[in-house]
């Protein structure tokens, strides 16, 4: 069956009132969990998994998938409005999105995030429609050495995210590395830096780190300095992006889509890494990188597109091979298995109705989300009128519920508060926390892929250069690093 007739079949499966209703319900829930800080798509999917038992497989899958990408739409909202990420893949949107809001351009930022998400989601789906099996065949070849190359490239990207002092930035990256090594060693199963605390054996929960460093610390900073809203609603000017915004965002959206899609397909990637790397990339190629962190719309458009494209990308290994590449697609796989459906390479021929139905559902869901999100922008912006003394306790409450819901472990709440204090202190001392978070995400993957590569290899580190893809990625990282050092050196000389 060729792709177009398959897609037509998918739409005919999906276009029933019941299926559309569940797709819409998923979009709505996804937007909500995206907006609410702390509560992420994983917790929502886990909570709603039993509901899908009683639904038809296509309705259940359409709903669960919609929650996943719906959360990517909603995640940027609180990042932009109150500088608190709605979920981990929208952390980086805080940097420029919130600055835009401070300049009265919250509407433009929210609008561009929604439109970027829509364009990226739809573009990725078009690629998925025509090339899913071929891309899956490439993705599965992606082994530990290739993953190492990718993570090395990501690590170089963290360097581009340092805004102030280079030394302080490097310190934060090192701290990210250090804290990510807490927990069970993946090679020999020994515990590292856990000091006998059972709650630390799984390492430090990413959600607690992100919500603490960004959310709680933001609230602490505000409590300290303001009695009333710092961005009162009368400063909100335009709700829609201007033509200039469009022109500036067009290329970042396309780049973010491509990057996010690729990172979604490969095993180590995913929406979080995709959003960070897109931001770093935009800053690297911008003519005036100093605008970043001060309200550059590219810094919103790129990452917000990338995280959405990564969702579509991560559906490829799931639908074409039955292989989940992240915890969320693993949950989707579980939902299918409960229904007695076993995705694998033959899924597309055995159950074309489901395969194409899900793809059709994602096209439909993206349109629904755009229609749902654009009118909501006006409403969200009104949220800024809520006095902080009401808004902040509410956000803290939601953040605690969200963080607890991930593992049902009170320890994570203390972690979150601890990281809140740490974040407050670091921001007072003008340390960047974004490189810290990216290093924290990448370091375990980097370590794992390097150690796996070395175990697999017959001649040591050479394995990284013997395979073309990993060699290319490692070379690209090295080149970027050298260029950066040279530029730094030149700048120093120019100064003196």
């Amino acid at each position: 069956m060729d792709a177009l007739s398959g897609l037509a079949m998918g739409f005919s499966v999906m276009l029933t009132p019941a299926n559309l209703y569940f797709c819409f319900l998923g979009s709505l829930i996804g937007t909500m969990v995206g907006v609410l800080p702390g509560l992420g798509p994983l917790a929502a999917l886990a909570l709603l998994l039993p509901v899908t038992f009683t639904l038809s497989p296509i309705a259940g899958l359409a709903m669960l998938a919609a929650i996943f990408y719906g959360a990517m739409y909603g995640g940027s909202t609180t990042s932009i409005l109150v500088n608190i990420p709605g979920e981990a893949a929208s952390v980086i949107t805080c940097l420029d999105g919130h600055q835009m809001a401070r300049q009265g351009r919250a509407g433009a930022a929210l609008g561009m995030a929604a439109l970027g998400s829509f364009i990226a989601g739809t573009l990725s789906l078009i690629v998925l429609t025509f090339f899913a099996p071929a891309l899956a065949a490439i993705a599965i070849r992606f082994g530990p050495p290739e993953n190492f190359g990718l993570m090395a490239l990501g690590l170089v990207c963290t360097l581009f995210m340092i805004t102030g002092s280079k030394l302080k930035g490097l310190l934060m990256i090192a701290l990210g590395f250090l804290l990510s090594s807490v927990g069970m060693d993946m090679v020999n199963g020994n515990e590292r830096f856990t000091f006998g605390v059972t709650d630390l054996t799984a390492g430090i929960e990413l959600l607690a780190v992100v919500i603490g460093l960004f959310g709680i610390s933001e609230i602490l900073l505000n409590v300290e300095s303001v009695a009333k809203n710092s961005l009162v609603a009368d400063r909100i000017k335009k709700l829609i992006p201007t033509w200039a915004d469009w022109k500036a965002s067009f290329a970042p959206i396309l780049r973010g889509s491509g990057l996010g899609f690729l990172l979604g397909i490969v095993p180590g990637g995913g929406p979080i890494t995709a959003s960070f790397m897109s931001y770093a990339m935009e800053r690297r190629i911008a003519r005036e990188p100093e605008r970043f962190g001060k309200g550059a719309i590219e810094g919103v458009a790129g990452p917000e597109s990338a995280n959405n494209a990564a969702v579509a990308g991560s559906m490829i290994p799931l639908l074409s091979l039955g292989i989940p590449s992240n915890p969320i697609t693993a949950l989707l796989l579980g939902a299918l298995i409960i229904q007695g459906i076993q995705p694998g390479p033959l899924f597309i021929t055995q159950r074309p109705d489901l395969f194409w139905g899900v793809i059709a559902a994602m096209y439909i869901g993206n349109v629904m989300l755009l229609v749902l999100n654009l009118p909501l922008i006006g409403l969200w912006v009104q949220m800024l009128r809520i006095p902080y003394r009401f808004l902040f306790p509410l956000i803290v409450l939601l953040a605690m519920v969200g963080t607890y819901s991930a593992n049902k472990n009170v320890f994570d709440l203390w972690m979150m508060l601890g990281f809140g204090l740490l974040g407050w202190l670091l921001r007072k001392l003008e340390y960047d926390i974004a490189p810290f978070v990216l290093a924290f995400v990448l370091a375990p993957l980097l370590e794992q892929s390097l150690r796996q590569s070395m175990t697999m290899s017959v001649d040591g580190a050479m394995i990284l250069f013997q395979r073309p893809v990993s060699a290319g990625l490692v070379a690209a990282s090295a080149l970027l690093l050298v260029l950066m050092v040279i530029r730094q050196f030149k700048r120093k000389r120019g100064d003196s």
């Binding site: 091979l321 949950l331 409960i338 076993q342 694998g344």
Partner: protein, 336 residues
């Protein structure tokens, strides 16, 4: 004559049960129901994330237990530390009032014997019902050099050319113990590539990054149907009903010790009142007689261990299994 009457009675009871689905409770279970219990939903605790094999097992069981008991069952995932956080919670903090039931796997034994550091032990959790099992299966690539070779041949290659065959393992788990056992007994030497879970190792096999992987039927069935991977042997006591042609490690190597499987069962915290325990146990074993539930489990690729299905003393029989795992730890110097 008497037997006939019984049959009629049973038929009546059965039809009564069907006629009044609102009550939705099995008479054998209802008979054991304590007066004051349960007074809130029963919480099935799963120590692994939602959507995984354990979670699916617990949610399906919960649905059928609700059917036979009329009680409300909630599934709660307490995750972290590869199950360690949830196991510790069940053994040391969960209330023993009968409202908390742990849906666990024998991976609990490793945590109790090797990692609990004396804070808790297996005796803190009492088995009340067997659910199902999964056995570890060795896989090769569907088009690789090892395709079509028997287990013995593969081990011979690993002996003649040590460290040339790459196998995906999960450190500190049965994935690794099986490899270790085989190496110790046969002199083979495999290159162990560590992964975070069985699924990741199977992906690496399908992508040609390792030569051997280990996993459960549900994890690789799709890939096997497409010929991307092929099973070699299964670490169970007897051949699996789904894979009648797949030999066991034991029959291939003429041994009895290569049994590495996930045994899923239910526990309650120590000290749960006897009547509540009996009731919870009856609800599970009655649900486990429903052919619909068994069919749902079979669809997911698991099998049922006959000895445990027919067991009259589940706690004793499960603890006997745990004892044989302990013997392996003692033999390999992991436990003194």
């Amino acid at each position: 004559m008497k037997r006939h009457t019984l049959k009629v009675l049973a038929g009546l009871v059965l039809s009564a049960g069907l006629a009044s689905p609102a009550l939705a409770s099995d008479p054998a279970v209802a008979k054991l129901k304590p007066k004051d219990f349960p007074n809130q939903p029963i919480e099935y605790t799963v120590v692994y994330p939602a959507g995984g094999g354990m979670d699916v097992t617990a949610r399906l069981l919960g649905r059928y237990v609700e059917k036979v008991s009329g009680d409300k069952v909630l599934v709660n995932n307490r995750t972290g530390g590869g199950g360690m956080v949830g196991h510790t919670w069940l053994a040391t903090q969960a209330k023993n009032d009968g409202h908390t039931v742990g849906i666990v796997a024998n991976l609990l034994w490793g945590d109790a014997l090797l990692r609990a550091q004396g804070k808790w032990s297996l005796a803190d959790l009492e088995p009340i019902g067997y659910i199902n099992s999964d056995a570890l299966i060795w896989l090769v690539q569907g088009d690789g050099a090892l395709k079509g070779r028997s287990l013995k041949e593969i081990l011979q290659i690993a002996k003649d050319k040590p460290n040339t065959i790459r196998i995906a393992t999960v450190p500190g788990t049965m994935w690794e113990y099986l490899v270790e056992q085989l190496e110790n007994n046969t002199g083979a030497k495999l290159l162990r590539v560590p992964f975070q879970g069985g699924g990741a190792g199977i992906n690496a096999l399908a992508g040609g990054n390792v030569d051997l992987a280990q996993g459960f039927l549900a994890e690789f069935r799709g890939l096997a149907e497409a010929g991307k991977v092929a099973p070699v042997a299964v670490a169970a006591n007897s051949r699996l009903p789904h894979l009648k042609n797949l030999p066991t490690f034991n029959e291939q190597l003429g041994a009895k010790e290569y049994t590495w499987q996930v045994v899923r069962y239910a526990v309650v915290p120590k000290g749960t009142a006897a009547d509540r325990k009996a009731y919870l146990s009856a609800a599970i074993s009655t649900a486990m007689k429903d052919p619909e539930l068994l069919a749902e489990y079979s669809k997911a690729g698991v099998f049922f261990d006959d000895a445990l299905m027919k067991s009259t003393n589940i706690a004793r029989d499960i603890n006997a299994y745990a004892e044989s795992e302990r013997a392996f730890y003692v033999k390999t110097g992991r436990v003194k």
